[in-house]
Amino acid sequence: MKYFIHDHYGTQQTLIDSLPSGYTALDYEHSDTVGIIQSDCGIPIACIPGVVTQLSMQYTNTPTVEWVCVSISHCANWTDVENEFTLIETEQAEAWARNKQWLEDNGHSIPE
């Protein structure tokens, strides 16, 4: 499940009209929205428009799946949105790779 948090004024109507399956669109100003995200995902809303989704973030050898609120204000379509998710996951994986290299170079064990 992914939540598309949009504003109240139709600014993201194109994205709403083409909402992919697996997404739920929520109006940020609806009184239930903050509670839904907090109870289902356990995180606050950080950005509007944004997508609250689970990403695979590699902080150690074993990636962690966690809820993240991703800003999509620059995304024109859902392909851009999916690319944004990939970019975040990729860059964290790269950061882990650098960390892992440093650990190896300094004779430390690699956390699982």
């Binding site: 504003d7 150690t60 950061a95 300094n106």
Partner: protein
């Protein structure tokens, strides 16, 4: 400059009192002969509106500030104000009015202790790409437009939230209060909660995002806590948002097998104060360095390894927050291209919290290309200074601010304010800042 203290139930009524009063004879009341003599000498007796309003300011005769004083809303002190006044319609579309020139139109240099009030006695048209942003931090900025408001430019309070804590680089303390806007909407004194300190005793990563509040600013995120092997470590907490500022963020920590203990200095300071300071030598920054949080000012950074370039790059020496010592991003002048998520904020670094902007117009609110924003600071995405080299676990993002537009007619189709919190990021980034309030309402 006329000094006038204002006591009104709401900000809307205060703006009407100040603005409408600015266009009528100021001399009603009971005066001593000395008062009359002094005002005649100053050219302020018998005038229909002050001679130094912005109509004359635009010709270079004077600035636009006509009143200052205390602002009291619903019985609570809301700080001092500076009022700029424009009599008639105002269209801002001159190439020479981009950026700083408008600062002089609308904003004084009074920092942290004053709000910026602007009364337009007519229509306001801001054309693309004109920018309105105060040069210094303000309690809040409020435009009252007696006519229609057409907005195609940029109005920003990003990084202009007040440090009203009375500590550090604050210019004075102002207690947060509930700010009643129009009898329906009230900005709460306390915004979203800051992300709590993130503690770890096992290998892995933790952080906590800032919260949100109805009609309020967002809270700042905690720092990222990454523990590689073993120990007991804690990243600093984010700050709670207030009516005058989004919350700052806490410092990050990244260690291999050493422990550290968080104190208040590692948390964002309250009321728009300093960002959480990083761990310094040894336990906190031994292997990876440590990043300070966003705030006023942003917390500095501590690098674990000696770097290169301008400045003192010795190991574990305190560094300006996230590269802020550089006027230009000399490490990567092409930041923003390719996989880098830019543009970076090297010059401003972690300095600044999101502020509060309110516009009220009696006519239509329209515009196609315009933008109103008050966003929390990002600090988590810098590859070249992050990871294991110097930055360590990143700080959290700043809380989002407030952008509210109140329209007097049913036509309220202008741009929606953008009030994101600072993002979590992807390089051991800290907790995101909570979103603020960006909305359009009936006046």
């Amino acid at each position: 400059m006329i000094i006038q203290d204002v006591f009104e139930p709401t900000l809307k009524e205060a703006m009407q009192t100040l603005g409408k009063g600015a266009a009528v004879n100021q001399n009603t009341g009971v005066y001593s002969i000395n008062d009359v003599t002094n005002q005649i000498k100053q050219g302020q007796w018998g005038v229909n509106y002050p001679a130094n309003d912005m109509t004359t300011a635009r010709t270079g005769v004077a600035n636009g500030f006509v009143k200052t004083g205390r602002l009291n809303l619903n019985g609570n002190f809301a700080g001092y104000y500076d009022l700029a006044y424009w009599n008639g319609n105002l269209t801002i579309n001159d190439d020479n009015e981009l950026g700083a020139f408008l600062d002089n139109f609308f904003f004084t240099g009074n920092t942290d202790t004053h709000s910026a009030l602007v009364y337009i006695n007519g229509d306001l048209n801001i054309h693309y790409p004109c920018i309105i942003k105060p040069a210094v931090r303000k309690l809040f900025t409020c435009f009252y437009i007696a006519g229609a408001f057409t907005h195609d430019g940029l109005i920003s309070m990003t990084d202009r939230g007040a440090n009203h804590s009375g500590t550090g680089n604050s210019h004075g303390y102002t207690a947060p209060i509930a700010i009643p806007i129009n009898g329906t909407v009230t900005i709460p004194a306390t915004g979203g909660a800051g992300g709590a300190r993130a503690n770890r005793t096992t290998s892995g990563s933790s952080y906590n995002g800032g919260g949100t509040a109805t009609y309020g600013t967002g809270g700042g995120g905690s720092g990222h806590n990454h523990l590689s092997s073993s120990g007991n470590t804690t990243a600093g907490a984010g700050g709670t948002g207030t009516c005058f500022s989004g919350g700052g963020s806490g410092c990050g920590t990244m260690t291999y097998d050493t422990s550290n203990t968080a104190t208040a200095t590692h948390d964002a300071q309250p009321n728009g104060g300093a960002g959480g300071k990083p761990y310094t030598l040894g336990a906190g920054a031994a292997n990876y360095g440590s990043s300070g949080g966003v705030g006023n000012p942003g917390g500095f950074a501590v690098g674990a390894e000696a770097g290169s370039g301008f400045g003192n790059n010795a190991t574990w020496v305190k560094q300006p927050s996230n590269g802020g010592f550089m006027e230009q991003n000399a490490i990567d002048p092409w930041k923003g291209i390719g996989t880098e998520r830019g543009p970076g904020r090297y010059v401003d670094a972690g300095n600044g919290t999101a502020g509060v902007f309110i516009a009220m117009c009696e006519g239509n609110y329209t515009g196609t290309y315009g933008r109103i924003e008050s966003r929390g600071h990002n600090v988590g995405n810098y590859h070249e200074i992050g990871g294991n080299g110097s930055g360590g676990g990143r700080a959290g993002g700043g809380g989002g601010g407030i952008g509210m537009v109140f329209g007097g007619t049913g036509t309220r189709t202008g741009p929606t304010p953008v009030v994101d919190g600072g993002q979590h990021g992807n390089n051991y980034g800290g907790g995101p800042g909570g979103a603020g309030t960006g909305a359009i309402y009936a006046l």
